[in-house]
Symmetry: C2
Subunit: 335 residues, 2 copies
């Protein structure tokens, strides 16, 4: 006898929500009834699930008592508006929207899945920002062989991190430029085609974007290393899909690169590419569940430094896959 | 009475050589006779200089006794083959090709121009790799207010760093992809369009490319900080012109960000862009002599950390402009 769960996905028409629905089918998630929900503007569309078309309905009048597990994959505002009601109706919630208070733990199964032991049903958990889900997948197993003190990361993010508008705009700008037509930026405030933007969103008085502050705070929480120093720069790259992270780690002791490589080779969810080859976002990671790691090397001037490169599918492990894995963990052990 | 100098530019048909010739005219460099030289394959072309076309002749049979100053802007091999002969003929040499032995000092006027006082005519000096010329321009004045201990840089390099073939290949790949045609990489070994390549060139047994090792060694030499720790990753970006550097500095003392900003605003060769704006390679730096700096901010978790973003024209300040400035320094004070 196998148990099944009635599930709601909110924000089902966004790229992350849609990928999440695909993953629930692909991974044979034990779904009883699947409710696809969205704000009233997006409701009315249909998505395929197990050979049928499921109509997307409005979240506003949804009765959460019908389901046991809810994925919030819409905007922060939608989560803010409906999460309390869902939780009060007894639903466990997995949030992908950054819409829950910061007390709600961010969880990456490979890094701090055991944190769920300390929580109670109905669960309130969050899937962190894409860079953190990916970084934590790589750094968590390395805690066994590294005394991490500082993580320095330049995250070059795909335009799909901003949803479909980002993808459309990069394609439009690139076409205009190749056809020698004057560029009039729309979705981005300047040229993203054949360019790199040093800032994703507005900065605060300290000079940081919300994304960079999330990266630092969430990474420390997920890694359970509150004193870790994180230096983060999030850059918008002219790449449609797939994030690339240039990472430099500083440790309290000399790094044993061979031990690092052995750990990465054995760790779940990681594909290591070595020798004179290296992974790229487009060539390796996009469409894949694994996080790709390459260019693993000790510091040139400092044997306590470790440098590496990470390429990942920002929509999969960065978001939808991590949430699906959290759902699997919940239903297997706790619900 | 103003003195003029007979000058040779070797590698005049390459993009850096061509830009150097433009700059010599633009900056009213006191050129008597200009000799444009190249290897026998490239000889025969002409370049405009002061309203006339100057024919590019072969370097092989050039009599260096005709000139006082030689810029080597061709390949390392060409420099290796002809620099001794030029120097023996009494020429001062400014090398842009990385073809001189590592004992020859790398010079960035803004950082260590005073090093020329310790050398003798005929001079042998080198212009460092583009990232170092740019980084040193920014970091050198900061030595007055920062006790620099570590420089962590992810340098996202334009394809024009690799010459015209890189530019042609990015354009070709992008067009193929937008027209939904299958991609067959030629000049790069994989897709560079809408992608980032984690490695520029082959790696050594330690995992580093020659470019990254040059960056580390040259930066320490130019900054006169032999104990500086440098963590470098050089990335190939799908950008035609202009390099973008994500930089994180660690210092021995708490960073005074206001003092840093004041120094950068006053420093020669730097354009600081602050507030909620930031510079980009394509939007600001390309075609400009200045190095653009933005996103200047203290560390989130560490007050001894300073982060910033640098955008520059890789062919100008990175290469040709730095060499032209070195030439100006030489003729003004030493030749």
């Amino acid at each position: 006898m196998s148990k099944s769960f009635d599930i709601a996905v909110i924000g089902a028409t966004g790229s992350i929500g849609e990928t999440l629905v695909e993953l629930l089918e692909e991974r044979s998630f034990p779904v009883g009834t699947l409710h696809l929900l969205a704000s009233s503007e997006s409701a009315g569309q249909s998505l395929p699930f197990r050979g049928k078309n499921v109509r997307v309905r409005t979240v506003e009048d949804f009765d959460f008592a019908q389901v046991q597990l809810v994925f919030f994959a819409a905007t922060e505002a939608v989560t803010l508006a409906h999460a309390s009601r869902a939780h009060a109706a007894g639903c466990s919630i997995i949030d992908l929207s950054n819409g829950l208070p910061s007390q709600v733990p961010q969880v990456v199964p490979e890094a701090n899945g055991e944190l769920l032991d300390t929580l109670q049903s109905p669960f309130l958990i969050a899937s962190p920002s894409a860079s953190v889900a990916v970084l934590a997948t790589v750094l968590a197993p390395l805690r066994a062989v590294l005394k991490l003190q500082r993580v320095n990361v330049t995250a070059c993010l795909a335009v799909s991190s901003l949803g479909r508008e980002g993808v459309t705009e990069l394609a439009r700008q690139t076409t205009e430029l190749l056809n020698m037509r004057p560029l009039e930026p729309r979705y981005f405030d300047r040229q993203i085609a054949f360019n790199l933007l040093a800032q994703v969103g507005s900065i605060d008085e300290g000079g940081y974007t919300a994304l960079e502050k999330r990266l630092s705070a969430e990474l420390k929480q997920v890694m359970a290393l509150p004193l870790l120093k994180v230096a983060a720069t999030c850059v918008q790259a002219p790449v449609f899909f797939g994030d690339s992270l240039s990472v430099s780690l500083q440790c309290a002791e000399v790094v044993d690169v061979a031990a690092v490589i052995a750990v990465l080779e054995a760790a779940p969810g990681i594909e290591l590419i070595g020798g004179n080859d290296y992974p790229t976002a487009v060539g390796d990671a996009v469409g894949q569940d694994a996080v790709y790691v390459g260019r693993v090397r000790a510091g040139l001037d400092d044997a306590t430094e470790l440098n590496l490169w990470i390429a990942s599918d920002n929509v999969r492990k960065g978001s939808a896959l991590n949430a699906a894995q959290l759902g699997e963990l919940l239903i297997k052990h706790y619900l």
